[in-house]
């Protein structure tokens, strides 16, 4: 919703691995007026199940209502709510940055400081990558911007609960699959 400061919460939604399930989930967010900040989908080690990691804006709707509505989808099997403090989150950023010979060292220095990688080198551009905590990616993106970003892509975050948490019953494969 406009005018509200977003608050983000990560939901790990285990769904049946069937055609159209992602559309059901994203369609639900759209029609109920819930905002999605980022979304990542991947199969799990159990081929019948896929994992959708959604970062939802809980200022747009109460988290409880989002979770209950998701559970009403027949193909949703299990939902884990990960509060930012209780989870480890990772995201990957790919960017093509302007890097003419005279400015190239600046870009390389920044990539080095952040522990990123150079993936591809062009005559006047570099393609770089960084994976890590989403906040760290935000910083990296902010510092890259003045150098001239040609293209940028972020994957949306993947998340798992922190290990000191008591394991959640009934989801042994949550930890097994990365």
């Amino acid at each position: 919703m406009t005018g509200m400061t977003p608050e983000y919460h990560t939901l790990v939604v285990l769904v049946e691995n069937k055609p159209g399930v992602l559309a059901r989930v994203s369609g639900l967010f759209a029609r109920r007026g819930f905002n999605i900040h980022s979304l990542a989908v991947a199969p799990t080690d159990d081929e019948r199940i896929s994992r959708i990691t959604i970062v939802a804006d809980t200022a747009s709707a109460p988290l409880e209502q989002i979770v209950k509505q998701l559970y009403k989808l027949i193909n949703v099997v299990k939902i884990n709510e990960l509060a930012p403090a209780d989870s480890v989150e990772r995201e990957l950023l790919l960017a093509t940055v302007k890097a003419p010979p005279h400015a190239r060292s600046q870009v390389l220095e920044l990539v080095g400081i952040f522990g990123g990688q150079v993936l591809n080198v062009g005559a006047a551009e570099l393609m770089v990558s960084l994976d890590g905590d989403p906040a760290k990616l935000d910083d990296f993106e902010e510092l890259l911007r003045p150098m001239g970003i040609v293209a940028i892509q972020r994957t949306g975050r993947a998340a798992l609960p922190k290990l000191e948490r008591t394991p959640i019953p009934g989801t042994p494969n949550l930890r097994a699959a990365g």
Partner: protein, 595 residues
């Protein structure tokens, strides 16, 4: 052991195994192969004139019988025509299974003739839908559809069937017949486990709140009917001597002639039902969902009330109003649990004296009954409320009444006395004009032993009247009362009250179409009533006709408005009553301001 048949045969056989006795539909290209084995089936198929009619008939059937209604139509435009009934059934939690044809699997996504993305289009208006791509999956898909439609919070489920998997000419339709058992069905839906029994701790908390309350009101919703909980509700209300309001979706769930019944609350609810909720200290919401038509402006709704909210859908708890005691479960099971705990705790013996509250309620009932200006005999025109009252008086007690949407619907709900569950068939959540005629037909098919009347408006009637051809052909003797006020009446009422009497595009004409000629052309007996004195004899004549549909057109007073009314977005405290009660309302407000 196993038998090789084709997908089309499997679909019909699965429906038979599922206990389907009747289905409503209209064939077309993609669904043709399924209509062939239908010829040899025990299932009665009712051929509609428009697919929307099939959907509403299936809903009417489900309303009246509690069994899932089944509709079957072809792909593309047929599927889009049935979207409205699906949405209607979704909003009102009506168990319904819809089967749509689809272009052959190889043609999906090519913009083939009569192709549309049915599953995509209906995703947000069904409880679940599925595109079946293998003939072998058909029996399981049918089992799942009926299980999902009828369990938990009921709703519509759609199965989309591509032509190649049901067409005997196509090798892809070959399959081995099997019939999955209950366990296999449950195992195939790992994410679906509706909670039916209430949590004992919450039941106890609810019982304690009830026994401590001074001004409790039971707010009964459509969930009571879905859960077959009318008997249980009565037991609870009588055990603790608690008044009951029945929402538009719950009319008949508690008898109107019961001393504890307060009737319908909400935007056009009666004064006592609305005000008792506002003044209550405990609302016991059973299968109701705090719809905006009930609550008015939410922050001012029942401001002093604690809330016990029972619903089988966890997402309803806290969606609009945070309950003090949330209970997820089937209404009947939860009420039974609650009754047994309340008995243990002493029942009504353990309650505070509620006589001040009861006398307050009876005072409201005396001062603010439903009312309208009566017509002098021979005055030459007809009051719509009077028609409903006479209709009620002249029909058997268990008559089923269906309605469209608008003023006539509100008058029917207000002035019809409902003393039996499953006698009221209407479109509550979606507010679908044109619902009445096909829904009444569906109800009559489901309950041929009952008299079925539809109370319809002239605007609504014009939207789906063609289904009377279906009724005449199939000898389904429904009776339709058109309250013809020559206007889109409810819109007219809003324009009169809130748009300075600027009437924009609401006039329909009283005699174009000629409803009598039209009804006769469709094979109905048709009559017209223009004078109050003719109301009773005409209704009696209509009641005698049992071999074909009857349409009675009542020319009603177009200035008549529905009262009471809480304007949209206003607080229930700002309820407007019939003008003859306005002075009394001012005195009541002054009295309440003093206390």
């Amino acid at each position: 052991m196993s038998e090789r048949i084709n997908g089309g045969q499997a679909l019909i056989r699965a429906l038979e195994r599922q206990g389907v006795e009747v289905m409503f539909g209209l064939p077309g290209g993609a669904i043709l192969p399924v209509y062939d084995p239908l010829i040899d089936s025990t299932i009665r198929h009712i051929l509609v004139r428009h697919e929307q009619g099939a959907g509403h008939m299936a809903e009417g059937y489900a309303h009246a019988t509690g069994r899932p209604g089944v509709a079957m139509v072809t792909s593309g435009p047929a599927a889009t025509n049935i979207v409205t009934p699906l949405c209607d059934a979704y909003m009102d939690s009506i168990p319904m299974v819809c089967i749509t044809g689809q272009v052959p699997t190889a043609a999906i996504g090519t913009d083939a003739f009569q192709e549309c993305d049915t599953v995509g289009i209906t995703r947000s208006v069904t409880k679940h839908n599925e595109l079946i791509t293998e003939a072998q999956d058909i029996p399981m898909a049918v089992r799942q559809a009926f299980y999902l439609a009828t369990s938990g919070r009921p709703g519509p489920v759609l199965i989309d069937i591509p032509k190649d998997i049901v067409d005997p000419q196509n090798p892809r339709s070959a399959m081995e017949w099997y019939w999955p058992n209950d366990d296999e069905v449950a195992a195939s839906l790992p994410g679906y486990k509706p909670t039916t029994k209430g949590h004992p701790l919450k039941i106890r908390e609810a019982a304690e709140l009830i026994l401590r309350s001074h001004r409790p009101v039971i707010y009964a919703g459509g969930g009571i009917l879905k859960a077959r909980a009318a008997e249980a509700l009565r037991e609870l209300a009588e055990l603790c001597d608690i008044h009951v309001v029945t929402t538009l979706m719950a009319r008949g769930a508690f008898p109107d002639d019961h001393p504890l019944c307060l009737g319908m609350p909400g935007m056009h609810g009666n004064y006592t039902a609305v005000t008792s909720m506002q003044e209550s200290d405990l609302l016991i919401a059973l299968g109701s969902r705090f719809d905006d038509r009930i609550t008015g402006r939410v922050p001012t709704f029942a401001p002093h009330a604690k809330i016990i909210h029972v619903d089988i859908d966890p997402a309803e708890l806290g969606k609009v109003r945070r309950p003090d005691v949330p209970i997820v479960g089937d209404c009947r099971l939860v009420i039974e649990q609650l009754v047994s705990v309340l008995r243990e705790m002493g029942g009504s013996e353990a309650q505070p004296d509620r006589s001040p509250w009861k006398s307050q309620i009876s005072g409201w009932q005396e001062r603010f009954p439903l009312t309208y200006a009566q017509v002098e005999p021979g005055a030459g025109h007809v009051k719509p409320q009077h028609v409903i009252e006479r209709l009620r008086a002249l029909t058997p007690p268990d008559t089923i009444v269906a309605s469209g949407v608008g003023q006539h619907q509100m008058w029917a709900s207000q002035y019809w006395k409902f003393n039996h569950p499953y006698t009221w068939v209407n479109s509550g959540g979606l507010g679908t004009m044109g619902f009445a005629v096909p829904a009444a037909i569906g109800a009559k098919v489901g309950r041929p032993d009952r008299m079925v009347w539809a109370v319809d408006g002239d605007g609504c009637f014009q939207m789906t009247a063609q289904e009377l051809v279906t009724a005449a052909t199939e000898r389904i003797p429904v009776k339709i009362a058109i309250l013809n006020n020559a206007y889109l009446g409810m819109v007219r009422q809003w324009q009169e009250m809130f748009y300075d009497e600027r009437y924009s595009e609401v006039y329909l004409s009283p005699d174009l179409p000629d409803y009598v000629k039209w009804a006769e052309a469709m094979g109905c007996v048709a009559m017209r009533v223009e004078d109050s004195d003719d109301i009773e004899p005409t209704i009696e004549k209509a009641n005698q006709i049992n071999d074909r549909p009857v349409v009675v057109e009542f020319r009603t007073d177009s200035r008549e408005k529905v009262f009471p009314m809480v304007a949209a977005g206003k607080s229930n405290d700002d309820i407007m009553v019939d003008p003859v009660q306005a002075a009394e309302l001012e005195r009541e407000k002054a009295r309440r301001a003093r206390s």
